[in-house]
């Protein structure tokens, strides 16, 4: 089985200004993250806002440089690839199809841009490929003549997917691709992404805060907390038998449409995690229900998880 994405000890820091005269603070957005994704599979990444999941996506897309560590994509070191080579291999679909499409360009031009930027395709070839991919994502040919403002949210996200796939990449990074959409449209887009993966043998990194969506699509799931992956496992095992207390809290907070069950107390308390101020010991301990003294002082190391994968918890 070949590996599509291999990430080793990836780390990214940011310096943020705390105030006009205060010294800048250091934020570790991604902290020593390692994983690999087999070709043709889907790795789901879940976590709250500020956990570093979007920074991770930008690092793997090559939009940000890592502070240390690196990624190998389809057998090539990401740092060795130039923009054009990267674009042929790996493409993004972002959350907000209202912000990610140029409002002044026609759909045909938006989808053609990755081909044009390569500089090696004839005009006929570009037109042919754009028409083919628009049809593949379920957009009528006349949509190509429209402007983004004339399209619904679901249609725009189809355009974003067409643009990502027009260069026939091997890997697609989906960063919350359905969060801005209605549930009925979300289902259409998830079904489309599933079909495309099967038919085109794509590999996805699928980032979402919606665990149900991740469960539907992902073969493996990684849970991020304050920059680290705290648990990773095959999807069914993770959902059936979560080992990390944070994974359990995330699963508990999903409101399934089952009347009469009320809203659960997920027991995370009121303190929100601050990436500029990471607690000593286990970084989750201030919000953890079952934390013991050891959790306050000693950072846990990754252990092989019961049922496969890994978990970072003293008590798992």
């Amino acid at each position: 089985m070949s590996i599509a994405i291999e990430v080793t000890n990836l780390r990214r820091e940011f310096a943020i200004g705390a105030g006009l005269f205060a010294p800048p603070r250091r934020v570790i957005a991604v902290d020593d993250v390692s994983f690999s994704v087999p070709t043709g599979s889907v790795l789901g990444i879940v976590g709250e806002s500020g956990c570093g999941k979007s920074t991770l996506a930008r690092l793997i897309l090559g939009l940000l440089r890592p502070t240390s560590g690196g990624a190998v994509v389809d057998g090539k070191r990401l740092a060795d690839l130039d923009r054009k080579a990267r674009a042929q291999l790996i493409q993004p679909v972002f959350q907000d199809p209202f912000a990610s499409l140029n409002p002044r360009r026609r759909i045909n031009d938006i989808v053609a841009l990755p081909l044009v930027a390569q500089g090696t395709f004839s005009r006929r070839e570009i037109e042919r490929r754009v028409a083919r991919i628009l049809e593949r994502v379920g957009l009528a040919p006349e949509m190509g003549e429209r402007m983004p403002a004339q399209l619904s949210g679901g249609q725009r996200q189809r355009v974003a997917i067409a643009r990502a796939l027009v260069l026939e990449p091997r890997i697609v990074i989906c960063d919350e691709p359905t969060s801005a959409l209605d549930v009925s449209v979300q289902a259409q887009i998830l079904n489309l992404l599933g079909d495309l993966r099967r038919d085109l043998k794509l590999t996805y990194l699928f980032i979402s805060h919606n665990l149900a969506v991740v469960e539907h699509l992902a073969s493996e799931v990684a849970v991020m907390y304050l920059g680290r992956i705290v648990e990773r496992s095959e999807t069914d095992a993770l959902f059936r038998n979560p080992r990390h207390p944070y994974t359990r809290a995330l699963l508990d907070s999903v409101l399934t449409p089952e009347p009469g069950r009320g809203v659960p107390d997920v027991g995370l308390g009121d303190t929100m995690p601050d990436p500029a101020n990471i607690p000593p010991g286990c970084r989750f301990h201030p919000r953890c229900r079952i934390a013991v003294e050891r959790c306050r002082t000693e950072p846990p190391v990754a252990m092989v998880r019961q049922g496969g994968g890994m978990v970072e918890c003293h008590l798992a």
Binding site: S49, V183, V185, L211, S253, M272
Partner: protein
């Protein structure tokens, strides 16, 4: 006994071209959570704004009845309405960053709500603000008074909004997608908070959401909206047990349920989008997306009863719905 909020045949249109709300009726009882659910563009938020008297200029509102706690809202002046808002009825919005004033501290915004409606000193109002912030789970409330909205996290801002809405002990809280911009973990905390306020203060909540998971967990009764109409309404358990309208059934089939997911099997979905309805439209607005539509759907649709307090708008009678494939 009459309901706290009673609305009959409410219609809202914009510049005579778009009919956003088309003759809906709604009752919210004291101490009840009533959910309005539907896709974007179906008229949920416009309904809420119409209730609060906050529609933009150019919107035309009409109704045969709109009453709140026995008071007729239709004949009330703008000043009378302003006296109710933030006082007996208050509203919280989806994005707390855009609904709090960035130029004023949390304390001064909260105090203003109370000094505007009650004869109280600013000091007394601030005291009340601290008490309520503690009540909604804000740590170190005294310190928060001097902070500006941008210094708070999204979850804290939404708690401030809720505390502010409660300053004058309202009977009705209108909440428009109050947790959509928040993380799932924070969402659970905010919804638990709303449920406890309802229990303790007998607060009635009109909750607008597109999330059927939220509806199932917090609502007492549900009105499903589509293209400006309430197409189905029922007590919550009943709606989830036996949904009748094809739109309700479609919405329910779209929701991926954790633990019950069969991967490699497509989710249910509803093709197309909510249409924009022009005035004078006749028949069922869902017919262009409905698998069961026929020629009769272009004419007036009967409102059918499917049990006590459960009715829906469709050509199909309950026994015909029962004969369909499960949604």
């Amino acid at each position: 006994m009459s309901a706290l909020l009673e609305i009959d045949d409410l219609a809202v249109s914009f510049s005579g071209r778009t009919a956003a709300v088309r003759g809906i009726s709604l009752q919210v009882e004291k101490g009840e959570t009533h959910c309005l659910v539907g896709e974007s563009g179906c008229g949920k938020s416009v309904t809420a704004l119409a209730v609060m008297g906050l529609l933009a200029r150019g919107a035309h509102r009409s109704a045969t009845r709109m009453s709140f706690a026995g008071q007729d809202l239709l004949s009330l002046s703008d000043r009378g309405m302003a006296h109710l808002r933030g006082n007996r009825m208050s509203m919280i919005f989806q994005e707390p960053m855009t609904s709090l004033n960035p130029a004023f501290t949390v304390g001064s915004q909260m105090a203003e709500v109370m000094t505007r409606h009650r004869r109280v000193s600013r000091a007394a109002a601030l005291e009340r603000a601290v008490e309520l912030m503690g009540r909604v789970g804000i740590t170190a409330p005294g310190m928060r008074l001097g902070q500006f909205p941008h210094q708070l996290s999204g979850g804290l801002r939404q708690r401030v909004m809720i505390a502010m809405a409660l300053m004058c002990d309202p009977q009705l809280l209108v909440a428009d997608e109050p947790t959509t911009a928040l993380d799932v973990t924070v969402q659970a905390q905010i919804l638990r908070l709303l449920a406890s306020l309802k229990r303790e203060f007998g607060l009635a909540i009109l909750l607008i959401t597109h999330d059927l998971g939220i509806v199932a967990r917090v609502a007492d009764r549900v009105s499903v909206m589509y293209a400006g109409e309430v197409v189905e309404r029922a007590p919550t358990a009943e709606l989830f047990r036996s949904p009748q309208h094809p739109y309700t059934r479609g919405l329910l089939s779209c929701v991926p349920v954790p633990g019950k997911i069969q991967r490699d099997r497509p989710l249910g979905s509803i093709p197309g989008v909510v249409p924009t309805i022009a005035p004078g439209f006749a028949g069922c607005a869902f017919r262009s997306r409905c698998a069961y539509a026929d020629a009769s759907c272009e004419y007036e649709i009967p409102r059918r009863s499917a049990g006590a307090a459960h009715d829906y708008l469709c050509r199909l009678a309950p026994r015909e719905v029962a004969a369909l494939q499960p949604a």
